[in-house]
């Protein structure tokens, strides 16, 4: 009779909660984003440009002159920064394409799904980790510079505000950033899950962002209908964004500009929120569907 050593003992230590496992995924995803030299250069360039522009905007807005432009006055400064197509829109678009475009497609290409899902990770956890990772990168190009502006505004702006008003500004900046970032991150993940390559999702996302903006402009000119403006992705986020800020009198005499001439959409919050929420939910559904589908096909 064979005598077996039977030395195996199951592990009896403590397990981390589910949230910590998702955090572990996010940490590696962030490291992964910085793994390639090209990516490092691109990210560094993006952030340098972003923070450079933040600095310029901030310095201009705080110059001791009698009059300033309306978009640089008060909390309009934050709104202008987060709503502008350049640099913010273009840089967000680039970051989403670079980071989000390959987030799922790389795992599909390298057969990494079975590595994840044979651990204590469910597809929903995976989706949350990827969404959080892409969102964090996009927030670093939206919320982080806007928060810097907010700190600087507190320090040097010639507007006398209560703490409540300042905190309301910070809340508005946070909410505006999330309105921009969350739907984009999920939509890009959906595109990424539809391909095994990083290039196609990146191109599709760029086409969506710029294409929706362009088509909205063209149709708006041709048809003159209000609904045409709802076709533009930037218009949707801008409209929800501007509703985040409290209305208060401008602190200085201002030069009126087109930027502040009216709302970016002739609609209240319901229409843009419904569209963006629908895009986000459908995108999440696509990612989860693709994860289940690919589990069987690897």
């Amino acid at each position: 009779m064979a005598v077996l050593d039977q030395s195996y003992q199951p592990w009896h230590g403590d397990f981390q909660p589910r949230f910590r496992r998702v955090v572990a995924m996010i940490q590696v995803e962030i490291k992964q984003a910085f793994a390639g030299t090209f990516t490092k250069i691109m990210l560094l360039s993006t952030f340098t440009l972003m923070f450079g522009i933040v600095g310029i905007l901030f310095i201009v807005s705080s110059l001791p002159v009698d009059r300033t432009f309306d978009f640089l006055a008060g909390n309009h400064l934050f709104r202008f920064f987060l709503s502008s197509m350049f640099p913010t829109g273009v840089l967000i678009m680039t970051l989403a394409a670079m980071i989000g475009g390959r987030a799922v497609s790389r795992d599909l290409r390298t057969n990494a799904m079975s590595m994840y899902f044979s651990k204590a990770i469910l597809p929903f956890d995976y989706l949350m980790a990827k969404w959080a990772t892409v969102s964090l990168f996009l927030l670093s190009a939206t919320f982080a510079p806007a928060a810097l502006m907010w700190i600087g505004h507190w320090a040097v702006a010639r507007e006398s505000l209560t703490t409540g008003q300042r905190l309301a500004d910070l809340g508005a900046v946070t909410l505006h950033s999330l309105v921009i970032v969350l739907p984009i991150a999920m939509y890009v993940l959906a595109l990424s899950s539809l391909s095994r390559g990083a290039f196609v999702p990146a191109i599709l996302w760029t086409l969506t962002y710029l294409g929706s903006w362009t088509i909205s402009l063209i149709l708006g000119e041709a048809l003159g209908e209000d609904w045409c403006k709802l076709l533009s992705w930037p218009n949707l986020t801008n409209r929800l964004g501007e509703l985040c800020y409290a209305n208060r009198p401008l602190p200085l005499k201002v030069h009126k500009t087109d930027f502040m001439s009216g709302p970016s959409l002739p609609y209240d919050w319901q229409e843009p929120l419904t569209i963006l929420a629908a895009v986000t939910v459908i995108s999440a559904g696509i990612v989860l569907w693709r994860l289940r589908k690919f589990e069987g096909q690897e």
């Binding site: 077996l4 496992r21 590595m115 690897e298």
Partner: protein, 308 residues
Amino acid sequence: MSDPIIAVEHLNMWYGRVTALNDVSLTTPPGISGLLGPNGAGKTSFMRILVGLMRPSGGAVTVLGDDPWNNTAHNLRTGYCPEHDGFHEWMSGREFLTWMLRLRGRMREDARHGAAEALDRVRLQDAADRPIGTYSRGMRQRLKIAQAVSHDARLLFLDEPLTGTDPLVRLELIELIRSFGREGRSVLVSSHVLHEIEALTTNIVLFHRGRLVACGDVHEIRSLIDRHPHLVSVRTTRARDLAAALLRDESVSEVSFPRESEILVRTRRPDDFYARLPKVALELECSVEELSSPDDNLEAVFRYLTEK
């Protein structure tokens, strides 16, 4: 008798109109079991269902007493080594194993400790801090096995762990897998090569075209196979003379000529035939240029079993 580790009843799996598994029912005892079948037999689908990666189209699956589908507790007690690599190539082996353990819920320090033990177990300590992208095929296989076993899994699923490895690494891996069995763990290991499975266990499960063909002791299966005629192809310069001489031997039941310089011999006693052939060739002073057996591939073995 101990409870089965895996119990499957009327398991079906379809990909659209393609049937991957067809009404499979079986149980496997604790210890090492071999899952044998040619490519496309449904081994990987079967294994992925047991791991909990896929939901079966029909039937009931119980692994260690639980349904594996969508069950993270199941994944804490089992380990899976997939056939294909799924690494982040920029990571080192140590980082990868630590991360895998953290995804299994280990605290950071526990994960580091577990990773070091697993690296030691699969003899990857020297390369532990190198990027995985620089690893050889054998090292990658060992790392995959390490991530499957590092959390002290009670049951291991190893999908073709020996594929693509050189003979030395193969021997090492076979010994490693056998050591898991000796410790009291259970292992389900798949392969399409009979002698690989024979080296690991006597308990085998045979799949062919999505169906369970046979299940039990490898020696019974082997004798079943040996009762069927064995084909041997002989390439020689004097095919007709050699064929005439071989036909006089009792071990040969039939000879045919697929090509001018090739004889296809059918024998029910392959060992006797292989012993006799060199003597006959020497007597005739003809050279045997190539000797191969179409039956060496598992597909042929399964053809015998399914046509019997």
